[in-house]
């Protein structure tokens, strides 16, 4: 006699320890096997885009902080550059250098959270706290420079809110020195750990063509073996002056595009970011960081789409100006939101525990998905 079995629907989230915020996953299970996943988003919706229409251009900057709150600097950077392009402002060299250094520090900080929380998702709590302790050093650098630890409002249209702190260069160099061996330690403690490899290698494989079809960007795309990085492919600011590699997934422990690759690409990217910082930190020219800040930000009529390589992927700003002080429309192409679309595809046929490892390897930030 066949045993009658039923599908089980399991609601994971919005209050769940490892959905990285308020994501709700509707899992259709057969035992522990995933038949279908439906992500439900919108629990953190704050009407960012609509809000922008009532704000003046500089007032939008603090709001961009709150999209991907783990990479506020990068969000600021993108918005500032987008509006500058719309207005035709040319910022001076010092601003460019400081912006690049800040954005790369922010990339390291963001990846630290991604890797650390991934460890927690897999069950290793200790690397998480090690990484957070190191991230504190970056946040302290930011805090000394602009006064805030998380939501900086640092990069303005046409400049920066503060010049760098006199100690900044020295401390950043110290940090680079300090952090290099820490990456090795992380690798030994977590990346190469057999249990971790077993949990992540060959899980949630994302082939390159599927990734491209879904519009996936950022480390996830690169983990699938596609060498695509806007810092190289569509250089903005002064990224074309620096010498760095684009790490891609090679399937060292499993298949190209599996969770381990997505994890490891981030580790390698931290090394590359350190390289950029090292090259930039000694060459900061003199200058006034608020030289080009306009008294009144009032772009001419027109629209612009500008895209940037955020820690999570391609962040795009589409800004329509009607010639007034308020933007007519600010549309954000949020990398996490687009990357999230492929999630259901990746999970099918895996176990409940794998949902967590796949979600962790996507490194989504719900603040950015819902905006």
């Amino acid at each position: 006699m066949p045993i009658k079995t039923e599908e089980m629907v399991l609601n994971m989230g919005p209050q769940h320890p490892s959905t990285h915020g308020v994501l709700r996953l509707e899992l259709k299970l057969e035992g522990e096997l995933i038949l279908d996943v439906k992500p439900h988003i919108g629990y953190l919706h704050r009407c960012f885009e609509k809000h922008c229409e009532a704000m003046t251009y500089p007032q939008v900057v603090p709001y961009t902080d709150r999209m991907d709150y783990l990479a506020s600097m990068s969000n600021n950077f993108g918005y500032a550059v987008a509006v500058e392009r719309l207005m035709g402002i040319q910022v001076n060299e010092r601003v460019e250098y400081i912006r690049v250094i800040m954005a790369e520090l922010q990339r390291i900080a963001s990846h630290m959270v991604a890797l650390g929380t991934y460890g927690v998702d897999i069950g290793a709590f200790t690397p998480f706290l090690f990484l957070f302790a190191d991230r504190e050093r970056i946040l302290t650098l930011f805090e000394e420079t602009c006064g805030a630890r998380l939501l900086y409002n640092y990069m303005w249209v046409g400049g920066l809110s503060h010049d760098i702190h006199p100690d900044f260069v020295r401390k950043t160099k110290d940090f680079v020195q300090y952090f290099r061996p820490k990456i090795d330690e992380l690798n030994n403690l977590l990346s190469y750990n057999k249990i971790f490899v077993e949990r992540t290698a060959n899980i949630g494989i994302l082939p390159a063509d599927v990734a491209i079809n879904y519009g996936i960007t950022g480390p996830i795309l690169r983990a699938s073996g596609v060498k695509w990085d806007l810092r190289k492919n569509d250089p903005y600011s002064i990224y074309d002056r620096f010498d760095f590699d684009i790490p891609v997934g090679e399937g060292l422990k499993g298949t190209v595009g599996d969770c381990w690759d997505r994890y490891y690409v981030r580790v390698l990217e931290m090394v590359e970011s350190l390289k950029i910082i090292e090259q930039a930190i000694d060459n900061i020219p003199e200058g006034d960081v608020q030289e080009a800040v306009p008294k009144r930000v009032k772009p001419p009529k027109g629209s612009i789409y500008a895209r940037f390589e955020n820690p999570k992927g391609e962040l795009g700003y589409f800004i329509i100006s009607d010639g007034s002080v308020n933007p007519f429309r600010v549309k954000v192409r949020a990398p996490s939101f687009v990357n999230m679309e492929v999630f259901g595809e990746l999970c099918k046929g895996h176990f409940v525990a794998d949902v967590i490892s796949i979600l962790g390897s996507m490194d989504v930030v719900l603040g950015e998905i819902d905006r």
């Binding site: 500089p58 007032q59 504190e136 006064g147 403690l189």
Partner: protein
């Protein structure tokens, strides 16, 4: 078969490597601080609670307009020449009585956009970061120094002044009108021929 033993070896070895690292960290000094006993030091640019130096405020409303979350609300009253609010520390003449300067710190997003446009640098972000309250209303900081009596007094004064001014104006206008009338009459008297034409 070979893979089998490699797996076993890797499993045990990487665990030992990890254990070595955590064991080393066992003797590292803690990176945390015992927060309520030991306070973290704030850098000089720290952006925390807002403070307004009312002596310098001229009530220009620029900070309120710069705020992206509308947490500052300012109401002002024009002063009369005989009773002015005085001068700022930089010697700028104040023209307005600030009757209301409320900052709802619960709404504040600590972006410090209000600090930059201030012409007298009277609004600033301080290093105070502990300001929890039991009542939500206590988070609305009222900076205006005028008492309600003073406000009614000033309002009255201003109204009187305004009324006086109005009356003066009215009188002036009346006088002007009178004069114009007289002038016209005079003119008419001067050129009777023209009028006849």
């Amino acid at each position: 078969m070979k893979q089998y033993f490699i797996n076993t070896w890797e499993g045990l070895w990487t665990v030992l490597v990890g254990m070595k690292i955590t064991f080393k960290h066992l003797f590292d000094p803690a990176v945390t601080i015992q927060y309520p006993d030991v306070k973290p030091t704030m850098p000089e640019r720290a952006r925390n609670r807002l403070f307004v130096n009312m002596d310098d405020c001229i009530g220009c409303d620029q900070c309120a307009r710069a705020c992206p979350v509308n947490c500052i609300s300012i109401e002002t009253l024009k002063s009369t020449p005989d009773d002015t609010p005085g001068e700022t520390s930089q010697g700028k003449k104040k023209a307005l009585w600030v009757t209301k300067f409320d900052i709802d710190i619960a709404k504040c997003c600590f972006c410090s956009l209000c600090v930059y446009p201030c012409p007298t640098e009277c609004i600033e972000m301080t290093k105070v970061y502990e300001f929890s309250e039991f009542e939500r209303n206590d988070l609305i900081y009222k900076f205006a120094v005028l008492t309600p009596e003073e406000i009614t007094d000033k309002t009255q004064k201003y109204d009187e002044f305004q009324a006086a001014k109005e009356a003066e104006k009215l009188a002036a206008a009346k006088a002007k009108a009178e004069k114009a009338k007289q002038d016209a009459a005079k003119k008419a008297d001067d050129n009777p021929d023209k009028k006849a034409e």
